[in-house]
């Protein structure tokens, strides 16, 4: 998992819960990296799950909500860094539809070792976009948050609903409906 995720997660913890919490989580978790994250590095995703797990225990919020919250947070961080990608697209729906063949292709070029989730989009009707998320990382809630922020970024008047397609959250369906 790209180092950017980890650095941004630690930044978010420090920002929302203070340096103490970040220090606590790093010390409590058994991290091979000892929590020394750099954006250009690559780390085991279990480290993120440990960090989220311990945060959940501490602040009594279920991990999936933490992931969703992190997704929301991260979108705006990325939006700032990669403004160009977003400005080329007119709507959230276009962005999401093109994600797999557009964003992921480019990511893969930059980071040949990146392990990306599979996204599949289709229109159910002219107002409803279906997005199937499929990843062994089981970060569907993280994706949920990203989508929500995306809609917000483009100021779409739309709702998003998540349906599980597998028990372990490796495959889910997002129903994004214009309202």
């Amino acid at each position: 998992m790209k180092g950017l995720i980890f650095t941004e997660f630690i930044d978010m913890i420090e920002e929302k819960y203070g340096l103490e919490m970040a220090d606590y989580l790093i010390n409590t978790s058994e991290l091979p990296s000892k929590g020394a994250y750099t954006a250009v590095g690559t780390y085991n995703h279990h480290e993120l799950f440990q960090l989220v797990g311990h945060l959940s225990e501490k602040i009594k919020i279920p991990p999936h909500e933490i992931f969703r919250e992190f997704g929301k947070y991260l979108f705006f961080v990325l939006a700032k860094s990669y403004q160009d990608f977003l400005d080329n697209v007119e709507s959230a729906f276009d962005f999401l539809s093109a994600f797999e063949i557009y964003i992921h292709v480019e990511v893969q070029k930059l980071y040949p070792d990146a392990e990306l989730p599979h996204l599949h989009t289709s229109w159910e009707d002219e107002n409803t976009l279906i997005l199937i998320y499929h990843s062994e990382r089981k970060l569907a809630d993280f994706a949920y948050g990203l989508i929500e922020s995306c809609l917000e970024y483009y100021q779409e008047n739309a709702e998003v609903r998540m349906e599980r397609l597998s028990d372990d959250n490796s495959k889910v369906k997002f129903i994004i409906k214009k309202s």
Binding site: T7, L19, E20, A22, D23, I26, N27, K34, G35, A36, Y37, T38, A39, V40, G41
Partner: protein
């Protein structure tokens, strides 16, 4: 404090992360540097490679170009729009267009007009679906318009992912196409044939797999499948599935296995099915190059045939039974003539027991040796399938011979092969005996008839000759000085002898008729002349009588007719004599009328009417019967035999005619005779040939030879001739007559037919052979005699029936002597004759036209209209290389010259024809033709003049 620790840890983490990042970046930079180096090296290699490859490409292109140029297939390139940009030289050879003509041309100009759209569609399709390589077939037209089928491999040419054109390899597949089509149609035909066969057909390959079956096959074996569905299945399994249809299922399948093992052609195996059907099976192995490539099974339903055979067999047995009961003996033998079955009736016929005959050779057992050849010939005929009926003798067991009528016929088995023959014997021994007796009887009867005929002929002569003398002497007596008493005696003598003469004639005639000795002798004669001569005779007879006589003839009778003039003469003379006999005053008439004309057939009615005593009505029926007269009083008063009318009736009926009578007592009778004749084209001259005999002195200058053996007749004739001042000599037989004729010229010969030494007929033949042409008149016993016909046939000019009256002799002498000389009486007739120009062949012309100047005119006209123009053609025909046409024309024209009297030119033409046949040179033929032409030119004015004269001739109107 805690915060400071936390910050320290954070800084530591940050430091570690930075180091980590720096390391990563360092690695990345190094990696980048190395990659850069590699890229540089690669770039250098690439440049070198490009140079190399460019060179290689150039070489390879040259190679390909050569390949393309020398390929056997047309190779082309075209742009995206379909215009050719390149074509190899083979295109010129195949299509007749030069490569220059092709380049720039649109492909649709070459494609067969009916396929342009299809080919366009094809190109559109491969462009749309970006099919790089594709193949398709279509017909094209070469420069001379002939159609070729081509198969084309097309490859798309791309540039920047865009199709910019095509390359194609085109192969001439006309022959393959043709073969394919032929194969297809042959296959279609065969499939159709097999499907429609009345036999069930199944064909399998060497691996027992079914290749073909037809509907009949499926139906026959009750297979609920379409024939196509059977294809591919195993034939042994199929056999298993249908075997229960057969009475012996195991035998059916094992048979099939055995046949497939033995691989031998087997025809006509019979299979019986449980439902009663009978199938006939042929097994035909199909061999090619000594290899079995499959097997053909053919099944035919022969149930109906077999049933019919059974029925026939049963009915045959039935008929044999019937025949046996009809006294017909049946015997069956095999092909070698050995008895296979002897039926009871046959055994009875020959007195054998059936078991004694069975197995024996028929010929040696009961056929007499003299018939062995007949029987052997019959046996051969039987083998050829012929049936015959013949009669033969057979020997009974007792040795006695019987005659049988044998009807032999071949016996066929169910396959139509001859297995032997059957003979039906009918005992005809009794009939044979009867036949023999009949033959003997017939022979006797014929002998008797011949004797009778001979007797009649002799009697006729023997009786008439002395009677003739009596009559003759009576006539001579009148010439001597007689006192009244003597005159009265001579009168009685005369009438008595006449009566006797009539009686004898009648009796002889009726017996001849009854004996069937009278035959109708048909030949051409002049009816008008005959009627006139009869009329003349009766006119003379009626001279000094109170009865007038008249003859009327239908003017529509204008031509000679074919029929028997002698019989007609006899009929009319009889009826007229009869009429005169019973008519004391008033008149007797003879009316001749053309009743009906149907093609050549004329029905002529002769009506003889009198005003005599008439016949009572109740007697009318009887008058034509033999020996019937009206009544005794009539017989006493008028005499006669009563045979006259009976003879008339029989003579009329003999000629398919009809005679009837109507009468009123005291008023008169009318007899009507209707006779059929055939008309000829020869006009009948209307003239009286018989001259009135008032001037016997005209005969003074003639010398006549009288050949007569009877001295009394000689005296009678001699006396008459002396009286008329005719010079005459006698011969007492034919031989002397000939001698005399050879020594001296006679104007006429009177020839008795029957004479000793050499009879009159033979003598006349000799005289005619020696080319003496004076008239020879036959003196015969009877007008009805066959002798008259014979006499006229062999060259006698006329006949005089004995006995004859002086006037009859005088008439006939006048007729033959005076009509041929420059007698004043005939000058008038003579002057009417047309005389041809003396330069022409008069004799020939007279002979061919016989006075028919209308005919002559026709021929002369024809000569100018047709023959002359044809003759002029010869001038052209002679110039032709082949002389055949010329010769044919000469041959055709040749006889026409003698028809106009130029006999000489006909001969010349003959010579020319021979020259042409001998293929003489043109010069020779032209010379001859010129010679003929010159002669013809000399004659032409004469011929023209003759034609004019013929046209003006008063005879022709």
């Amino acid at each position: 404090m805690e915060v400071i620790e936390q910050l320290k840890r954070k800084v530591e983490r940050e430091r570690k992360a930075r180091k980590q990042a720096e390391r990563i970046l360092e690695e990345k930079a190094l990696e980048l540097y190395k990659t850069n180096l590699q890229l540089k090296a690669l770039n250098e290699r690439l440049e070198k490679k490009v140079t190399e490859r460019t060179k290689e490409l150039e070489q390879s292109e040259a190679r390909y170009r050569q390949l393309v140029e020398t390929a056997h297939d047309i190779i082309f390139k075209s742009n995206f729009e379909g215009y050719f940009t390149y074509a190899n030289p083979i295109a010129e050879e195949k299509l007749g267009y030069s490569t220059e003509e092709i380049v720039g041309q649109h492909f649709s100009k070459l494609v067969h007009e009916n396929h342009v759209e299809k080919v366009k569609g094809f190109y559109e399709n491969i462009i749309r679906s970006q099919v790089e390589r594709s193949y398709f077939e279509f017909p094209v037209r070469n420069k001379s318009g002939e159609v070729l089928w081509v198969g084309q491999n097309v490859q798309l040419i791309f540039e920047n992912d865009q199709v910019i054109g095509f390359t194609g390899v085109v192969r001439d597949i006309t022959r393959q196409k043709k073969a394919e089509q032929e194969l297809l149609s042959a296959k279609l035909r065969l499939t159709h044939l097999i499907a429609n066969l009345q036999s069930g057909v199944l064909m399998q390959d060497a691996h027992k797999e079914i290749i073909v079956a037809n509907q009949t096959f499926c139906k026959m074996f009750q297979i609920p499948l379409q024939p196509e569905e059977l294809v591919g299945s195993n034939c042994i399994e199929s056999a298993e599935s249908v075997k229960d249809l057969f009475t012996d299922p195991e035998c059916f399948t094992s048979d099939i296995s055995r046949l497939l093992r033995e691989k031998k052609l087997i025809l006509g195996d019979e299979l019986v099915m449980k439902d009663g059907r009978i199938l006939e099976r042929d097994f035909i192995p199909i061999v090619t190059d000594d290899e079995y490539i499959g097997y053909l099974w053919q099944y035919r339903d022969v149930t109906e045939n077999r049933k019919a055979h059974e029925r026939i067999k049963k009915s045959e047995e039935k008929y044999r039974g019937i025949i046996e009961n009809m006294e017909l003996g049946l015997l069956e033998v095999d092909r070698d003539g050995k008895i296979t079955r002897a039926f009871d009736r046959f055994c009875e016929m020959l007195g054998y027991a059936p078991q004694e005959l069975k197995g024996k050779e028929a010929i040696s057992t009961f056929v007499p040796a003299k018939y062995h050849n007949v029987l052997k010939k019959q046996t051969e005929d039987r083998k050829l399938g012929k049936a015959n009926v013949y009669e033969v003798e057979l020997l009974k067991k007792s040795g006695e011979a019987i005659w049988v009528m044998l009807s032999g016929a071949p016996i066929f088995d169910e396959q139509g092969k001859i297995t032997g023959s059957i003979g039906i014997h009918y005992n005809i021994t009794r009939q044979k005996k009867l036949q023999q007796a009949l033959r003997v009887a017939k022979q006797k009867a014929e002998e008797a008839q011949a004797a009778e005929k001979d007797f009649l002929a002799k009697m006729s002569h023997e009786i008439r000759t002395p009677l003739n003398a009596v009559v003759g002497m009576v006539h001579l007596l009148y010439e001597t000085p007689l006192n009244p008493e003597q005159t009265e005696y001579v009168d009685i003598l005369k009438s008595a002898s006449k009566l006797l003469q009539g009686l004898i004639n009648d009796i002889l005639d009726i017996s001849k008729i009854n004996a069937g000795h009278i035959e109708v002798q048909k030949h051409e004669f002049n009816l008008l002349e005959l009627i006139h001569s009869i009329g003349k005779i009766f006119e003379i007879k009626l001279d000094n009588c109170p009865v007038s006589f008249g003859v009327t003839i239908d003017p529509n009778i204008t031509k000679n007719v074919i029929g028997d003039d002698l019989l007609l003469n006899q009929i009319l003379v009889n009826l007229l004599s009869n009429a005169l006999k019973f008519t004391e005053q008033g008149n007797v008439t003879l009316d001749v009328k053309l009743l009906e004309k149907n093609g050549d057939t004329l029905l002529i009615q002769f009506t003889i009417s009198d005003t005599g005593i008439g016949i009572p009505e109740e007697k009318l029926e009887d008058i034509f019967k033999n020996f019937k007269q009206v009544d005794r009083e009539v017989q006493r008063k008028f005499g006669g035999t009563g045979l006259g009318l009976a003879i008339v009736k029989q003579l009329v009926e003999l000629q398919n005619g009809n005679v009837s009578v109507s009468s009123r007592l005291g008023k008169g009778s009318t007899f009507k005779v209707i006779l059929p004749y055939s008309e000829t084209n020869h006009p009948a001259s209307n003239g009286y040939k018989i001259q009135s005999v008032d001037s016997p002195e005209l005969l003074h200058n003639y010398t006549i030879l009288v050949a007569e053996d009877n001295p009394m007749n000689r005296k009678y004739v001699g006396r008459l001739l002396e009286k008329w001042g005719v010079q005459h000599e006698f011969a007492i037989n034919g031989k002397i007559a000939i001698d005399k004729i050879e020594k001296k010229k006679y104007d006429l010969v009177l020839m008795d037919v029957q004479m000793p030494e050499l009879d009159g007929i033979t003598a006349t033949k000799v005289i005619r052979e020696k080319k003496y042409d004076m008239p020879i008149l036959a003196l015969t016993a009877s007008a009805l005699s066959e002798q008259v016909h014979e006499a006229l046939t062999i060259g006698m000019s006329d006949y005089l029936p004995k006995p004859f009256a002086p006037e009859q002799l005088k008439n006939i002498l006048h007729k033959h002597l005076l009509s041929t000389t420059q007698n004043p009486a005939s000058i008038h007739e003579e002057s009417l004759q047309f005389q041809f120009h003396e330069m022409l062949d008069q004799a020939h012309l007279d002979a061919i036209y016989e006075g028919d100047m209308e005919y002559a005119l026709e021929m002369f006209e024809l000569f100018f209209k047709v023959i002359l123009p044809d003759f002029e053609q010869l001038q052209e025909l002679v110039k032709l290389r082949s002389k055949e046409e010329f010769r044919r024309m000469v041959h055709k024209l040749k006889p026409s010259f003698s028809m106009i009297g130029l006999t000489e030119l006909t001969h010349d033409m003959s010579t020319m024809e021979e020259l042409a046949s001998a293929k003489k040179s043109r010069q020779v033929l032209e010379e001859k033709l010129h010679q003929i032409q010159t002669k013809l030119n000399e004659y032409l004015p004469i011929i023209k003049n003759e034609l004019q004269r013929l046209k003006n001739n008063p005879i022709i109107e």
